[in-house]
């Protein structure tokens, strides 16, 4: 029999709605509230040993304390599986579920299953964590989908608890986590690739072996007006930084950006700049940093007064950047561009 700890919010624990959203983390032995429904779905294959609940607001106002308290309760009970939610379309509850699962997977190594509507904002965080041990199942938007969600979660919990290896997202129905796994097959890659190509040419259905991450679609910004002198900034992912790399960028997987002042410069002299980047041969860039930050050309174009170059340039070496980190960096740079009232940007990407 699989042992399960069920983590839910104060509402589904039966404590109350918004007026009780400030309650701290609490634990009930056995199944209570929505956990009774989970127990019913588990039947004799599993047992909810404890129900842990948190107030939706409490979790967000005290995220570190809440997470630590929940992890401590789970750690002391050592269940085989943790179930969190279902959170449906509730953002606060969804974030609580994903954060708890992430913490459990990271520090306790216990498999977790959670569930919520695909448009719950917490789904993005789940995708970004790429936790091997966490599975998020899609649900309906509202608690009308409670029974089917609990049934699906109970099924996953039993399989995870018995140590069964789960298949890929498209077969199992959980939301893809962006994890690629190696598989053995009897046929070499060239044969499979040519077969896929032929199917594609014949307009027949085929299944890719390397799904591409789906990206947000950005609406193109309106064009700049030629009437007005624009302020233009440059961003580079080439890793061109002042010689000596004062902020200690790494050659890969950077987690921050920086801007450096170029207001007094007409050109970038070799030897005063260096390219910090582990993803391409930086020899050309070190000889002539203009390949990654075309300051000489920008000063020449600026001289007729069409635009003004912003006093600094932005840089992050882009090598092996994880999409979720780069998204955050992009948002931070965008916020700074807005604050500095920059009208247009040229982004040089290596």
């Amino acid at each position: 029999m699989v042992t399960v700890v069920h983590v839910i919010n104060q509402f589904f624990a039966g404590l109350g709605g918004e007026d009780k959203a400030g309650v701290p983390v609490g634990t009930a032995e056995g199944a209570t509230g929505a956990a009774r429904g989970l127990q019913a779905q588990l039947g004799d294959k599993g047992k909810v040993v404890a129900t842990i609940y948190f107030g939706d607001n409490y979790f967000h106002e005290h995220p570190e304390e809440a997470k630590a308290a929940i992890l401590k309760e789970i750690g002391s009970r050592k269940p085989q599986v943790v179930v969190a939610g279902p959170a449906f379309n509730s953002g606060r509850y969804g974030v609580g579920c994903v954060e708890v699962c992430h913490g459990v997977a990271e520090s306790l190594g216990i498999p977790c299953v959670t569930a919520m509507h695909e448009e719950n904002p917490a789904v993005d965080a789940y995708r970004g964590y790429h936790d091997l041990n966490v599975y998020l199942l899609p649900t309906r938007e509202t608690a009308a989908g409670m029974n089917e969600a609990l049934m699906a979660m109970a099924g996953f919990a039993c399989r995870l608890g018995s140590g069964e290896e789960l298949g890929p997202a498209r077969e199992e129905g959980y939301i893809p986590r962006g994890i690629r796994r190696l598989e053995r097959t009897d046929r070499p890659g060239v044969e499979r690739a040519v077969e896929m190509l032929l199917k594609r040419l014949r307009n027949e259905p085929f299944v890719t072996e390397v799904p591409v991450q789906i990206w947000d679609r950005a609406v193109p910004a309106p064009p700049l007006s030629p009437e007005r002198q624009a302020t233009i900034a440059v961003i580079t992912t080439s890793g061109v930084v002042p010689w000596g790399n004062p902020d200690r960028f790494k050659t890969y997987r950077n987690t921050f950006w920086q801007k450096y002042n170029i207001s007094e410069l007409k050109v970038l002299e070799p030897g005063k700049w260096e390219a910090v980047h582990g993803g391409y041969n930086v020899a050309f860039m070190n000889q002539n940093p203009h390949y990654g930050l075309p300051l000489d050309a920008l000063r020449a174009s600026e001289s007729d007064g069409r635009f003004r170059l912003y006093h600094s340039y932005y840089v992050v070496p882009g090598n092996q950047g994880s999409p979720s980190v780069m998204k955050r960096i992009g948002q931070e740079i965008a916020a700074d561009l807005k604050k500095e009232q920059i009208d247009g940007v040229l982004l040089v990407a290596t």
Binding site: S238, Y280, Y291, G292, D296, G344, L346, L347, V348
Partner: protein
């Protein structure tokens, strides 16, 4: 914003709006095999193309080609 990249098909695939075709991954804005004056003219053409791009109305990922023949 205009992105200047030698990996323009990827920029197009992920939905960047204004994309300027660059020379190569280790040297997007120029070509070290060219004499330095020609290299500088090529870089200027790439930057001018990017400036044109941010002044252009676009509705979907759009590729802008620097006029390389004019620089050599």
């Amino acid at each position: 914003m205009a992105i200047i990249s030698a990996m323009y098909p990827i920029a197009e695939q992920v939905g960047a709006s204004r994309i300027v075709k660059a020379v190569s991954i280790p040297h997007p804005c120029g070509d070290p095999s060219l004499p330095s004056e020609v290299d500088a003219r090529l870089r200027r053409e790439i930057v001018e193309t990017a400036l044109k791009a941010i002044h252009a109305e676009v509705k979907q990922p759009t590729l802008f080609y620097p006029n390389i023949s004019a620089t050599v």
